[in-house]
């Protein structure tokens, strides 16, 4: 096995959180290395460059690693879950493949036990993260509009994405109902921003932005981190983290691009491999000293998986709207976000208003939903669908439940022979009630918009956010990391990704994942002299 030179900080994963923590720690002048199992993605690689731009979403740019099945992906056994997993394995991680919707958790999300009597409070609050939200907004480049009465004040540095015809249709419907709506915060650049070109409405944001208008960490944090001296080594897949004789992390064993086994020693290790990759790695790092997996004395590594069930309601209006010509993200509504005692569930959800789809996606979706027939009648039916679609996503808070978990599959492996993760997941009763409420409200909105052919998506295959599987807390018996991301069991091992979330909120998680990573990096910098001390 090749043994590399020791580094001060080893970061595993280069996505939303790994990039943020690398950039933040760079100012310490420590020797920092990031190992990433995937590749860099070039702008010319993205589907929007070619005539097969829609087809590639079902192939090498599928959001599911099982469908994408690149050599750099690892499979996930999700047979025992009604929800499937979304990720991307490459420099930038999931930010290559997100919709760029950028809401923050609300203050109440950190206080679910105190306010609503469910789950657990976080050991930190919104206000501790607030300066890091703002810093992250500047680094990623957020477009939006200040003044939203549904969320705490913030000041997006760029104007919002245009309403468009679709947004106006939603707005009129919401005003008829008297319900809240607001232009979403997104990381789509609406003006030139920090070297990024402005959005030109390719309309195909999720599988990567050929224009470079969507902020992914390969074009935001990483260029700055690399210029500051951080090293990033792609195509290096970590198999396990090893311990030294003192029970401290010694480094990581990984396979390089040629499949050669290497050992990377490090003074400290930071895991940023997402809510499935991180518990997978901890469980694969079991040893005689920790037979149930690394940092797992609580037994909570892999448990409390939260995936954000996200029903979608579609409807079709007579007028021609934007279709797939513009960013999918448009508006949000916080009308039903906070707990209302009059409902039969606690907590709440964001309504996310999306534009339509391109011709192929519209046809595939509509065929699956039974709206589009084969044979005679196909063409006339399709003309009533394409560019007439409204689509509302219901981002439901998913409460933590211990039986929802990540384990290691006994047979399935990745291309390097490393055991793959298996997820076991059921949608909780509170969430089911919330979903039903959200579907009913979204249906009302569709009706207020004059839509017909209103229907609920037959699948829950997206987005599959990955949260909660190495939760933070003050009590080592009931959490994996402390309130600043350090593992209770291994004092030089930190986790900064979505694993450490205590609850999920009802929003896309990337903004809060990154703010939390910046917060932890700041705590590390404040404690450098005593970083590994007990307590």
């Amino acid at each position: 096995m090749t043994r590399n030179e020791t580094v001060d900080v080893l970061i595993i994963g280069s996505g939303a959180s790994g990039a943020a923590v690398a950039w933040s720690l760079a100012e310490t002048r420590m020797n920092i290395l990031c190992l990433e199992q995937g590749d860099w993605t070039r702008p010319t690689d993205f589907p929007a460059n070619g005539r097969d731009w829609e087809a590639r979403r079902y192939g090498d740019f599928a959001i599911s690693p099982n469908e994408r099945a690149r050599v750099t992906d690892y499979p996930v056994n999700d047979a025992d879950s009604p929800m499937k997993v979304a990720n991307f394995n490459g420099v930038g991680g999931g930010t290559i493949f997100y919709t760029a919707h950028f809401p923050r958790l609300h203050p109440s999300d950190f206080r679910v036990r105190s306010l609503d009597g469910v789950a657990s409070d976080w050991p930190i609050d919104y206000w501790a993260l607030e300066p890091f939200f703002a810093e992250n907004d500047r680094m990623m480049g957020v477009s939006g509009l200040a003044g939203d009465p549904g969320v705490p004040a913030r000041d997006p540095p760029m104007p919002p994405i245009p309403l468009g015809r679709t947004g106006a249709a939603y707005a009129r419907a919401m005003n008829r109902l008297g319900w809240h709506w607001w232009p979403s915060d997104t990381t789509v650049a609406t003006t030139e921003y920090d070297g990024r070109a402005a959005c030109i409405n390719l309309g195909h944001c999720t599988p990567g932005c050929a224009q470079g208008a969507k902020a992914s960490t390969d074009i935001t944090y990483w260029p700055r981190a690399l210029r500051a001296g951080v090293k990033l080594r792609p195509r290096c897949r970590v198999r396990e983290i090893t311990l030294n004789e003192h029970g401290m992390a010694a480094g990581a064993i990984y396979y390089d691009a040629d499949g050669a086994e290497c050992f990377q020693p490090a003074e400290m290790v930071i895991l940023a491999a997402n809510g499935i990759g991180t518990p997978r790695l901890l469980l694969n790092s079991a040893s005689a000293r920790c037979p149930d997996g690394l940092a797992n004395s609580s037994g909570l590594v892999g448990r409390n998986l939260m995936l954000h069930p996200w029903p979608q309601v579609s409807g079709y209006v007579a007028e021609t709207v934007d279709g797939g010509r513009g960013p999918m993200t448009s508006l949000w509504s916080k009308q039903f976000y906070e707990t209302d005692p009059a409902r039969d569930f606690v907590r709440g959800y964001t309504l996310q208003f999306a534009r339509g789809a391109g011709p192929v996606a519209e046809a595939v979706d509509s065929l699956a939903a039974g709206r589009l027939p084969w044979g005679e009648g196909h063409h006339r039916a399709f003309r009533a669908l394409l560019d007439h679609r409204l689509r509302i996503g219901i981002a439901c808070e998913d409460l933590p439940e211990a039986h929802n978990r990540v384990t290691l599959d006994p047979e399935l492996t990745d291309s390097d022979g490393i055991p793959a993760p298996k997820i076991d997941y059921r949608i909780g009763e509170n969430t089911r009630r919330m979903m039903a409420h959200g579907i009913a409200r979204a249906t009302e909105i569709m009706e207020a918009a004059g839509a017909t052919q209103i229907g609920v998506s037959p699948t829950l295959n997206s987005p599959g956010h990955l949260l909660g599987t190495a939760r933070m807390g003050t009590d080592p018996e009931h959490s994996v990391v402390n309130p600043w991301g350090r593992c209770h069991d291994v004092r030089n091992l930190f986790i900064v990704d979505g694993s450490i979330w205590v609850t999920s909120g009802g929003v896309n998680p990337t903004s809060t994942i990154q703010a939390l990573a910046l917060y932890i990096a700041d705590r590390i910098k404040q404690r450098l002299a005593t970083l590994f001390d007990p307590g």
Partner: protein
């Protein structure tokens, strides 16, 4: 025209695919829409099967085993519709590859009023819209829950 060697499909499978595509998406002269069995669309389909080849072959095999090749037109249509509706993920893949090649054909896109080009680099124009629609929402008082001591 693609050959069976190019696509990995046998001549029998290609014939079945052509017939199936024409049944599922027939031409409509009034709307200037070709059928999905159009030679150029079929050639695109065969040239780009790629990772979908095995599932497509499985779906076509099931169709052929049910007598699709010898079926009279009306019977073939009934058979095609029922198989595509009930035959599982293989049929789903077959339907999707037909749709993804059909709805990128330049003639089809033009007939639908779409620009037959990839999104980049041309992009699209998105109307700014009437932001005065937001005025009633701006007038609302904040309603997110403030968890700080002393907050309402």
């Amino acid at each position: 025209m693609e050959t069976s060697q190019d696509s990995g499909l046998s001549a029998l499978e290609i014939d079945a695919l052509r017939r199936l595509a024409g049944v599922l998406i027939p031409p409509d002269a009034a709307l200037a829409m070709p059928g999905a069995d159009d030679p150029d669309i079929l050639a695109d389909l065969l040239a780009t099967l790629g990772r979908d080849q095995a599932r497509v072959q499985a779906a076509l095999g099931a169709l052929l085993a049910a007598g699709f090749a010898a079926a009279a037109p009306a019977e073939a249509e009934t058979l095609a519709r029922s198989r595509m509706a009930t035959a599982g993920p293989e049929a789903g893949t077959l339907g999707r590859v037909i749709l993804q090649c059909y709805y990128r054909d330049p003639r089809v896109l033009r007939a639908l009023g779409q620009d037959p080009r990839p999104p980049f680099p041309g992009g699209h124009v998105l109307e700014q819209g009437d932001w005065s629609l937001l005025d009633p929402v701006r007038a609302r008082t904040p309603f997110w829950r403030d968890d700080r001591a002393g907050a309402a």
